[in-house]
Amino acid sequence: MAEFMSLKDAVASRVRDGDSVAMEGFTHLIPYAAGHEVIRQKRRGLTLIRMTPDILYDQLIGMGCADRLVFSWGGNPGVGSLHRMRDAVEKAWPHPLALTEHSHAAMANAYEAGASNLPFAMLRGYIGADLPKVNPSIRSVTCPYTGEVLATVPAIRPDVAIIHALRADLKGNVLLEGITGVQKEAVLAAQRSIITVEQIVEDFGSRSPNAVILPHWTVGAVVAVPGGAHPSYAHGYYKRDNAFYIAWDAIARERDSFLAWMEVNVMQAGPEAFAARRPRAA
């Protein structure tokens, strides 16, 4: 049931040490403001779940919030490596990071199975690939009609899902539009959820009858954080800050420059800082 509250209270009440947390958003609508609040509140031992870990997860990992990463592609899209993620995996800094690695198809199906209350997902996948050799959770079922063997993965059922959406109405119904990724599935699959939005409106008004909406009785904490997806973007609000994604490579390359940046821009800042970070409106 939707509850409006501050981002600080949302993270304090919904995210616990040791939780499995899915912060989703497929390039679009990545919940940076909420992720930064998790860092400020110094959560530890998290299992971080995300198809495409990018800068936000580089920050969480570099600040020591995560013990495990469940993912299918981890990089700075179009720029290069995630230096903090690599440092954790290759050199165990700030501490070791265990990996549970899938393909995109497997993870998308695993979220879909979680939203569908199924214990596992099946796909025509991983054929001839090495991932099943290093990820024991990839198994198989046999079709009871054709005998075909299909790959399986366990359904993803996070303790907490965190997403950023475009708008919420006064009841707490939540609207997404554009590239919706796996956010709806992540929220429906999770036990608890935090949803930041660009704005809270009285009413969604005229819209497609098939608009992507999470009803108020399917969501948890709802928080207005204008600009809360920056440097990711919000369809119709502001564009992706590609210049920042490029700049991040130098910031994150060394531990010192990373820590210095985080101190100023995350530890000493708050959600209200995001509004000013938005590039020109899309």
Binding site: S72, A108, G128, A129, I179
Partner: protein, 263 residues
């Protein structure tokens, strides 16, 4: 008309790679686009000889026509110019696994002679020397698309005798390996590099050079490849970049640099 008559700087090997890759695509193709070099080739094709090509990015954007090259597979421009945008689970279930994609266009960090790709790790998986981004959509793109094109720049660290990790299967151990695993799709049918174009041998499936880019020698190809390269007897020369191809590609990159604030 060849590049020598240009009043512009000569074509670079990377530009030649993108142009040769773009030529492999047709207007009737439905293409699942990997980020980076494949994205440049697919959009160059769309802006030149294949205006009606359907480009699909794994973010869910179907039939997209970006004005600039996206930095990520989910830039807003992809959604704004798409026929429609679907949820990511649907993209992988109905569209990729559904068997509706004719061409999957991939890049990679490392490749072997049977067009298997590694984008996961260098060194051992548990104690990697270099942790790469991982497979993303590649494992299922490689198995579910009608056929697969690959584009990569050559070099001894990229074109290797043995992959430390097979992220996505090409022709496996060669021959009928794909068929033995029950795959009915063609797998990699073309590898376009900065020096030449490979296609798999009809029987052994080993990548074989069929054409050399203008000015490139067999020796250069071998020097940049970690396995003994096979060439078809009548290796041809890749047709040089036309003025149109080069000017459209350079304009696309210029627009892209401007839009992304300098990459």
């Amino acid at each position: 008309m060849t590049m020598h008559t240009f009043h512009t700087s000569p074509v670079t090997p990377t530009e030649m790679m993108t142009i040769a890759a773009a030529r492999a695509l047709k207007s009737s193709d439905v293409c699942f686009v990997g980020i980076g070099a494949p994205s440049a080739a697919c959009n160059l094709a769309r802006l030149t000889h294949a205006p009606d090509i359907t480009l699909i990015y794994e973010s869910g954007t179907i039939g997209t026509e970006p004005d600039v090259l996206p930095l990520s597979i989910g830039d807003g421009d992809l959604c704004d110019t798409a026929l429609t945008t679907v949820p990511v689970p649907e993209m992988f279930r109905y569209w990729l696994q559904g068997g509706r994609i004719t061409i999957g266009f991939l890049g990679g960090a490392q490749i072997d002679r049977f067009a298997n790709l590694n984008t996961t790790v260098v060194g051992s998986y548990d104690e990697p020397k270099v942790r790469l981004p991982g497979g993303g959509g590649a494992p299922e793109i490689a198995s579910n698309c009608g056929e697969v094109f690959i584009t990569m720049a050559m070099g001894n660290r990229a074109f290797v005798e043995k992959l430390p990790f097979i992220t996505s299967m090409g022709h496996g151990e060669g021959g009928d390996h794909r068929a033995r695993l029950g795959l009915r799709t063609k797998g990699p049918t073309r590898l376009i590099t900065d020096l030449c174009v490979f296609t798999p041998d009809p029987v052994t499936k080993e990548l074989t050079v069929v054409s050399l880019h203008p000015g490139v020698t067999r020796e250069q190809v071998q020097e940049n490849c970690g396995w003994p390269v096979r060439f078809v007897a009548d290796t041809s020369q890749t047709p040089p970049a036309t003025e149109e191809e080069l000017s459209v590609l350079r304009a696309l990159h210029a627009r892209t640099r401007k839009a992304h604030g300098g990459i």
